[in-house]
């Protein structure tokens, strides 16, 4: 009978295992059957969903549906227009008076007042709350008190923010910044209801905002269901019944689901499918410019790259890259060769200048070889381009660039790729100034201003100046541009600064990235905004 006892033990173990799994069952989550609901692919947001803590596209697209800030960027042109703000006045580009429109409420019924904004901004800026977008409030007076570089904050609120009435508040900046109101469309500046402060964890599990959608249910890591908010006071009401965002482990699976009819919208067509996308979707494939530019940054803290002759080497490398061929063959025309350091979505008025880079961005292998030799050759005899190998298809284009450089120089070993295992490690090496050669750099704009493409990236010690490039003339021109109240003149000054960047080749511009999306036959009126996020509220479902 010994055997029988063993059998009982084992049977018990199996029963326990089965019981443990049974609880996860439940309903089978409808799919795209419900009427008027758009099902869309989504990636698991990296950070908790709160306005000042969301710095990537996946979380950003949710905030765009849930919140409306003082200013909103036109989904087509990218121009900043007042949304919740009635007016934002200034006489000196430093002191601003903001008036909030009457009649706006959060979806829980609470009124949107001046206090909703001031409280939200004070919360976001405060070091105690570990908000990753805190630096957006860095232009407001008193930021160094609530968010000191070292030690604990000495104040809880920004001294530059003052509520002056139910619907008005004043902002004092710590420097002249004429286009500051145009930055307010960024999600970090969204207003927050009292519920956020009263019961933070409950709010995080079911966020409440003042946008055209409300959260119906949120299962972290798998699905976020949003429904049209019927009482939404804004003019850009949702044209559909709601949006279901489904987390996909792999964008290839999302694309497969779209072709199988289980999904309505994919806002990131995987590179491997670009060849089939025309035959699969026909004109239901969108490929439009977005405010994203990719560049190669240089480690200016490394003496080898900071010699007087290195300017020629950097220009030579730029000329050795056959941008047109790479964007055609590797990216299937979903990127456009860059000819300046901004993005076409800014438009000519906004500061985009086609061809500003000039000859330095034109493919010229002979000229490249000559320049690099004049500049004293490649430091160390070999360029190692670092990139993170875990996501995207960075390996392919880095190898293609190296190929192009090697061909131009007639040397098989002139350029090699240097893969780094994870994105975190890659960022880590960058922030610790450990790069020994050029490295992949990308910039997705926060707001459609030429300032956003230049100042954070190339101003001395700026937050995203990863290569530590520094140039007094550039800094001076940026300061002047920020102080200039006339927009056209400001843009002109920024472009002059960009000219300095070009003459020094502070970073090699590679290409502008497009947003790509595909959708099912049920949908119409699908478009991507300049941030490459679908304009969800305008999508119509048949």
């Amino acid at each position: 009978m010994r055997g029988a006892t063993h059998a009982k033990w084992t049977a018990c173990a199996v029963v326990v295992a089965l019981a443990a799994t049974a609880c996860g069952g439940g309903d089978s989550g409808g799919g795209s059957g419900a009427s008027g609901i758009v099902s869309s692919s989504w990636g698991d947001p990296q950070n908790p969903l709160e306005p000042a803590n969301t710095n990537e596209v996946q979380g950003g697209k949710v905030l765009d549906m849930l919140f409306r800030g003082l200013v909103r960027y036109d989904p087509k042109t990218g121009a900043a227009k007042n949304m919740v703000a009635e007016k934002i006045d200034t006489t000196d580009s430093t002191n601003f008076t903001v008036t909030v429109k009457d009649g706006w409420t959060f979806s829980n019924g609470e009124k949107v007042t001046a206090k909703s904004f001031v409280d939200a901004w004070n919360y976001g800026a405060n070091l105690k709350h570990n908000q990753k977008n805190a630096y957006f409030f860095g232009y407001i007076d008193g930021y160094d008190k609530v968010h000191p570089d070292k030690g604990d904050p000495t104040a809880d609120t920004l001294s530059g923010l003052k509520v002056t009435g139910d619907r008005t508040f004043t902002v004092k900046l710590n420097q002249k910044f004429s286009t500051w109101p145009d930055t307010l469309g960024y999600a970090a500046f969204a207003p927050l209801p009292k519920a956020f402060f009263d019961n933070h964890s409950a709010w995080l599990s079911k966020p409440v905002g003042n946008g055209p959608y409300t959260v119906n249910s949120y299962t972290k890591g798998s699905k976020l269901e949003m429904r049209k908010w019927d009482a939404y006071p804004g003019e850009d009401k949702a044209q559909n019944g709601g949006v279901d965002l489904k987390v996909y482990t792999d964008n290839n699976t999302a694309y497969t689901d779209l072709t199988a009819g289980n999904l309505d919208l994919v806002d990131d067509v995987p590179a491997s499918q670009l060849k089939n996308v025309k035959s699969d979707l026909g004109d239901r494939y969108i490929n439009t410019p977005a405010g994203i530019i990719q560049t190669l940054a240089f480690p200016f803290y490394d003496d080898a790259w900071n010699t007087p002759g290195a300017v020629k080497v950097r220009k030579g490398l730029s000329m050795a890259i056959n941008r047109a061929q790479i964007t055609d063959t590797i990216f299937q025309k979903t990127r456009t060769p860059a000819t300046d350091w901004t993005s076409p979505v800014l438009g000519a008025d906004g500061g985009y200048k086609d061809g500003l880079c000039g000859d330095a961005c034109k493919y010229d292998p002979a000229g490249a070889k000559k320049l690099i030799q004049e500049g004293g050759g490649i430091p160390g005899g070999q360029v190692k381009i670092s990139y993170n190998a875990d996501t995207g298809s960075h390996k392919e284009w880095v190898d293609a660039i190296c190929n192009s450089v090697n061909n131009a120089l007639g040397n098989d070993k002139a350029c090699v790729g240097n893969p780094v295992g994870t994105f975190a490690d890659f960022r880590n090496q960058i922030t610790q100034n450990k790069m020994s050669g050029p490295f992949r750099a990308g910039w997705q704009m926060d707001y459609p201003l030429i300032q956003n493409f230049l100042q954070p990236l190339y101003y001395t010690n700026a937050s995203s100046n990863d290569g530590k490039w520094t140039n007094a003339q550039f800094d001076k021109l940026v300061n002047e541009a920020n102080a200039e109240t006339d927009k056209a003149k400001a843009v002109d000054l920024f472009q002059q600064a960009e000219g300095v960047l070009r003459d020094q080749m502070g970073a090699i511009p590679l290409w502008y990235q497009n947003g790509s999306a595909g959708y099912s036959t049920r949908l119409s009126n699908v478009a991507l905004n300049p941030f490459s996020v679908p304009v969800y509220n305008e999508i119509k479902v048949s």
């Binding site: 799994t21 989550g29 990753k132 805190a134 482990t249 699976t253 994870t422 994105f423 975190a424 922030t431």
Partner: protein, 307 residues
């Protein structure tokens, strides 16, 4: 047997500590995870420092490990970078992966063992050769190829199944992914059973059983199979752990939000808490599965005694 089980359970303790320490060190070697949290922008130093403090990353590694293990014994597996408790991640992903594993194991047992018995009893016949070639093909094709092809053919072309599994992942949606996950092991089980059956079918006790006039099915199930299953059970037992941890490819293809997905994200984001927590549980699953296998030996062959 009670003493045997207790001894085995005690042996798990050092294995458990060793494995978790190794994983902990490995994740730590990868560098500072906070740098990846801010995207392509650099975190501002003050916020980064506070985040490090929040996740306990500012302390020496041994101290982090000690604190972590201390917390684990109180049931606190820490917090992932997106603010979710690791235990919460586990409670959503483990049931899904366990269901997937159960389906895979059932496929292995039902299809694998029956095919093994059939071919083992008909050595050299056409069916034997056919199954041998088939299993060879299955072993040779990587899982992601089988997975993607089945997904395209059954899901997109014929629409027999959903090409991706819904978040709740009920059993019926997991059938095809389970088959894909099981495919390679299934081929091994078939071959193991076949060899074992072929060997034992010539044994004296089988001949005796046949000579006694026992019905054929009784000879096969009670006498032949029971003795031939020991290597197969060993394989399936260790496979439980391997399937749970190794389901990552299948889970990615079919969009299953299970353990593999969470581990993959944890590694990409260098979230020590997530990775160590999940691996800890996987190590436990592996150890328990091995214990169950050892106990099963005695069921199959009563001559095996534990002391």
């Amino acid at each position: 047997m009670g003493r045997y089980v207790i001894r085995r359970l005690l042996q798990m303790i050092p294995v458990f500590f060793g494995a978790t320490l190794l994983i902990f060190l490995m994740v730590n070697v990868m560098g500072d995870p906070i740098a990846g949290l801010c995207g392509d922008k650099a975190c501002d130093p003050a916020t980064a420092a506070r985040l490090k403090q929040e996740f306990g990353l500012d302390k020496p590694v041994w101290q982090q490990y000690a604190t972590y293990m201390g917390n684990v014994f109180t049931g606190d597996f820490g917090t992932a970078f997106n603010g979710q408790k690791v235990t919460e991640l586990m409670s959503t992903s483990f049931p899904v992966t366990i269901r997937l594993t159960i389906i895979a194991i059932l496929f292995e047992i039902v299809i694998g063992i029956s095919l093994g018995v059939v071919t083992g009893l008909r050595r050299g016949r056409p069916i034997d050769t056919a199954v041998l070639i088939l299993t060879l093909v299955v072993i040779a094709i990587p899982t992601f190829v089988t997975g993607l092809v089945l997904q395209l053919v059954l899901g997109v072309e014929w629409k027999w199944i959903r090409s991706s599994v819904s978040p709740s992942a009920p059993f019926n949606e997991l059938l095809v992914p389970g088959l894909v996950l099981a495919s390679v092991s299934l081929a091994y089980v078939t071959r193991l059973t076949r060899t074992s059956i072929a060997e034992n079918s010539r044994a004296d006790y089988v001949r005796t059983a046949v000579a006694k006039g026992l019905p054929r099915h009784r000879v096969i199930t009670r006498h032949l199979l029971r003795n031939s299953l020991i290597p197969v059970v060993t394989f399936i037992g260790t496979d439980v752990g391997a399937l749970m941890g190794g389901a990552i490819v299948t889970e990615r293809i079919f969009n299953i939000h299970g353990v593999g997905f969470q581990l993959y994200q944890g590694i990409l984001r260098q979230s020590t808490q997530t990775v160590v927590g999940f691996v800890t549980v996987l190590v436990l699953v592996f150890l328990v599965a091995n214990l169950v296998v050892d106990l099963l030996y005695a069921v199959l062959d009563p001559r095996i005694r534990y002391a």
